[in-house]
């Protein structure tokens, strides 16, 4: 058994929460710069330029890329040979989030009850997904997501006979519905398969993959590329004011599913799609 202290995990979570919110992911920044060089519409170009400048200001001044520093989703991959000492794991993660949001001057946007709506004042609790994996390490990813885009995400339970065309139409509809509201150019994470809950988690996980990396399954990679092209012909553009750059990247994750079903979740994310990962 390899021992890892709760204190160490807490410190790492805290650092990742700040890092994710202040430094725009390299793959996303590259895609923004690429979109800027390809864009022809003057207004779209001007907005993309401001977004690139925004990322530079955030990282040099150590202030968040976006004021909506999100609700934090934490993905844990805990090696089965790890023994966590000195604390409860969920409490440790939440203490890390609370510490990071305080230390990093991040916004506290979480309310304790969805109907009573009283702010918890430390941005906890996080939503935590834990996988037990072989080995003796812990991989931690903190992915804060703003709700401007979270609000535009959609789920649908298709018939097993519906096939790829109907799924593609649904994804395109989801993007059109989000329109200018959820900070385009978007990054889209799609989950296909599993159960209702699994499809939603897959959609979130899809957002963690580098947007220049395609799904290893060939037919899914083709679907990713095809959809990205179609979305970028919608002329939504930066801020929804027209242009080529409607979507910077689209990732699909899949999972086996039931003979009677075909769950699909479309996770819409903004141009400030954030995540940071560390391995202990």
């Amino acid at each position: 058994m390899r021992k890892v202290s709760a204190g160490k995990i807490q410190a790492v979570v805290s650092r990742l929460a700040i890092e994710a919110n202040i430094s725009l992911r390299k793959d996303v920044l590259r895609a923004l710069k690429m979109a800027y060089s390809k864009e022809k519409a003057p207004r779209a170009k001007k907005i993309l330029k401001a977004l690139i400048e925004n990322a530079a200001i955030a990282s040099s001044e150590r202030i968040p890329i976006c004021q909506d520093t999100g609700m934090a989703t934490v993905f844990l991959e805990v090696g089965q040979n790890v023994l966590i000492t000195g604390g409860d794991l969920s409490k440790t993660i939440n203490s890390g989030i609370a510490g990071g949001y305080k230390k990093g001057f991040l916004r506290k946007s979480v309310v304790i009850d969805p109907l009573l709506r009283v702010n918890t004042k430390d941005n906890t609790p996080a939503v935590i997904h834990t996988k037990i994996v072989p080995g003796g390490k812990i991989k931690i990813t903190v992915a804060p997501k703003g709700f401007g885009s979270e609000n535009k995400s959609l789920t649908n339970m298709f018939k097993p006979t519906d096939g790829a065309d109907k799924i593609e139409r649904f994804i395109l509809e989801a993007v059109k519905k989000a329109g200018p509201d959820a900070c385009p150019p978007y990054i889209i994470g799609v989950g296909i398969g599993g159960t209702l809950d699994k499809a939603c988690i897959l959609a979130k996980e899809a957002l963690l993959r580098r947007i220049d990396k395609r799904n290893p399954r060939r037919h899914i990679a083709i679907m990713e590329k095809g959809l990205l092209k179609k979305i970028n012909r919608l002329n939504i553009g930066p801020m929804g004011l027209g242009g080529k750059a409607t979507c910077l990247g689209l990732n699909i994750e899949v999972y086996p599913t039931h003979i009677a079903g075909l769950p699909v979740c479309v996770g819409i994310s903004c141009h400030a799609t954030r995540s940071a990962t560390a391995v202990i």
Binding site: A50, E61, I65, G148
Partner: protein
């Protein structure tokens, strides 16, 4: 100003978002609002806390559509302009025309960039709401695009 025009705003804005709108309307109804918002501009925003030595943290626009249900009443109460991101309802568009107001868009998701255009920030109302408190912001050369003009013409 026509829908689509770009401008740089300098002067004062008041932030207000979801819970703030509920409170503002209650206070306006009871005539207990301690500040005069007539002729003022509302910015749909909830900033991040100011780090030491800074005026404000990140401060970009939030989705305006969530405030649609409250907007006609605020316009009736004398709000002159709003700044946010995204589409508005048909009711809001008509109310903007009726009260000769204006809806501006600003750069969505550029909170760090926009924070550099803010020269003063002070919470003035509902401070218990934290980031949702009303902040009085003094801005200089704050970039906006007219989303809906006073004649009800919309950019979207």
């Amino acid at each position: 100003m026509r829908a689509g025009d770009e401008a740089l705003l300098s002067g004062y804005l008041y932030t207000a978002r979801d819970q703030t709108h509920i409170r503002l309307l209650k206070d306006i109804g009871r005539k207990t609002l301690p500040i005069d918002l007539r002729g003022q501009t509302i910015y749909y925003a909830g900033p991040t806390p100011a780090p030491f030595g800074k005026i404000i943290g990140s401060c970009g626009p939030t989705t305006s559509g969530r405030m649609d249900a409250f907007t006609p009443a605020l316009l009736k109460a004398g709000i002159r302009a709003m700044i946010g991101k995204g589409r508005r309802s048909e009711e809001v568009r008509r109310a903007i025309r009726k009260y000769k107001a204006v809806y501006f868009l600003t750069i969505a998701g550029a909170g760090a960039y926009l924070s550099k255009k803010i020269v003063e920030a002070r919470p003035v109302l509902y401070k218990d709401l934290g980031t949702e408190a009303v902040y009085r912001l003094k801005v200089k050369d704050f970039p906006v695009i007219v989303g809906i003009d006073s004649r009800g013409r919309s950019l979207y």
